[in-house]
């Protein structure tokens, strides 16, 4: 494979077919190797898959990624090496696919269904290992306040999003899709929600430092 400068990549990929075809193939192979490395070495959740299965996944993803890179050539600004920029696109595509597969059955509906969580106070007391009863009371008191703050300070949408992302570790991308919005807008919504929650709790004398201390292990 020839090493190309950024300018050569751009001119080859937009050049006449006899120049473009080998450049496309070089790009595809390069992306495939990067994706395969990521899937096989960095994803413990895929360790049950055989090498040929990972290879097959990498091949498909690299094919899609190459098409996406070509469709977005105009947006390459030259801030990095061209191959790094292309790999960034491939990585996003691969991770998106993996997220979608993993959360294909995820629904926001389950998050607000009544009775699917334990009552806060009994749960707090049951899981509270503090030998100090005063401390235990203080903790359950703060838990109730935080619980209430979620209801009082946030909109339904903010509460849903925060619950899914912050508590259940669902990727923003997935939650955004289910909410009919995009990741950027969801990030802003979550940002507002966190700020509102923080202000609401601080207004009741609950600083984040205090709460962190109270609930540290």
């Amino acid at each position: 494979m020839i090493e190309r400068t950024n300018e050569q990549w751009l001119s080859d990929l937009t050049g006449p077919p006899e120049v473009q075809a080998p450049a496309l193939e070089d790009l595809r192979q390069r992306l495939q190797r990067g994706i395969f490395y990521y899937l096989s070495r960095e994803r413990s959740d895929l360790s049950h898959l055989a090498t040929h299965e990972l290879n097959h996944m990498a091949e498909d993803l690299a094919q899609d990624a190459t098409l996406r890179v070509i469709a977005n050539l105009d947006s390459f600004r030259g801030d990095s090496r061209f191959t790094t920029w292309a790999t960034k696109i491939a990585v996003r595509l691969a991770i998106s696919d993996l997220r979608r597969a993993r959360y294909k059955d995820f629904s926001l509906d389950g998050l607000t269904a009544e009775g699917d969580t334990l009552p806060a106070t009994s749960d707090a007391l049951a899981s509270n290992h503090s030998p100090n009863p005063e401390h235990a009371t203080e903790r359950s008191d703060v838990m109730l306040k935080i619980d209430r703050a979620l209801d009082e300070a946030l909109t339904e949408r903010q509460r849903q999003a925060l619950t899914a992302v912050a508590l259940q570790d669902v990727p923003l991308e997935i939650v955004a899709e289910r909410m009919g919005t995009n990741r950027n807008a969801l990030y802003k919504l979550l940002h507002d929600a966190r700020r509102k929650l923080r202000q609401h709790l601080e207004a009741q004398g609950l600083s984040t430092d205090y709460m962190l201390k109270l609930f540290e292990d």
């Binding site: 495939q32 190797r33 990067g34 395969f36 490395y37 990521y38 070495r41 090498t51 290879n55 990498a58 600004r77 801030d79 990095s80 090496r81 790094t84 920029w85 790999t87 960034k88 990585v91 996003r92 691969a94 991770i95 607000t112 969580t117 334990l118 009552p119 806060a120 749960d123 707090a124 899981s127 509270n128 903790r139 838990m143 935080i146 619980d147 979620l150 209801d151 509460r159 925060l162 619950t163 992302v165 912050a166 508590l167 570790d169 990727p171 923003l172 991308e173 990741r183 950027n184 990030y187 802003k188 940002h191 966190r194 700020r195 923080r198 709790l201 984040t208 709460m211 962190l212 609930f215």
Partner: protein, 86 residues
């Protein structure tokens, strides 16, 4: 809605890591990710570079996951480890 104690800890942590309004969103973060990943793969410290991007990465698991993946691939490439498929 009732919370479990471990959920509560997560929630408090998430509030603590919330930051000022003038920070980046996912889109602007994503635009700078390739450049940042190259520098980090070369050994530069994330904290010294583009603090707004770093702040976003601390608050956004999606962007962080993509950033880490990109850095891992770049490092493997530098170390000649990318020809191991098959």
């Amino acid at each position: 809605m009732a919370l479990h104690e471990d959920e509560l800890r997560k929630l408090i942590n998430c509030i603590v890591t919330s930051h000022q309004d003038d920070c980046l969103d996912c889109e602007s973060c994503g635009q700078q990710l390739d450049c940042l990943a190259e520098l980090v793969a070369q050994g530069r410290s994330l904290d010294d570079l583009m603090p707004e991007v770093t702040t976003h990465l601390c608050c956004c698991r999606d962007c962080f996951e993509e950033f880490e993946a990109l850095v891992a691939i770049l490092r493997a490439e530098q170390g000649g480890q990318l020809d191991i498929s098959g």
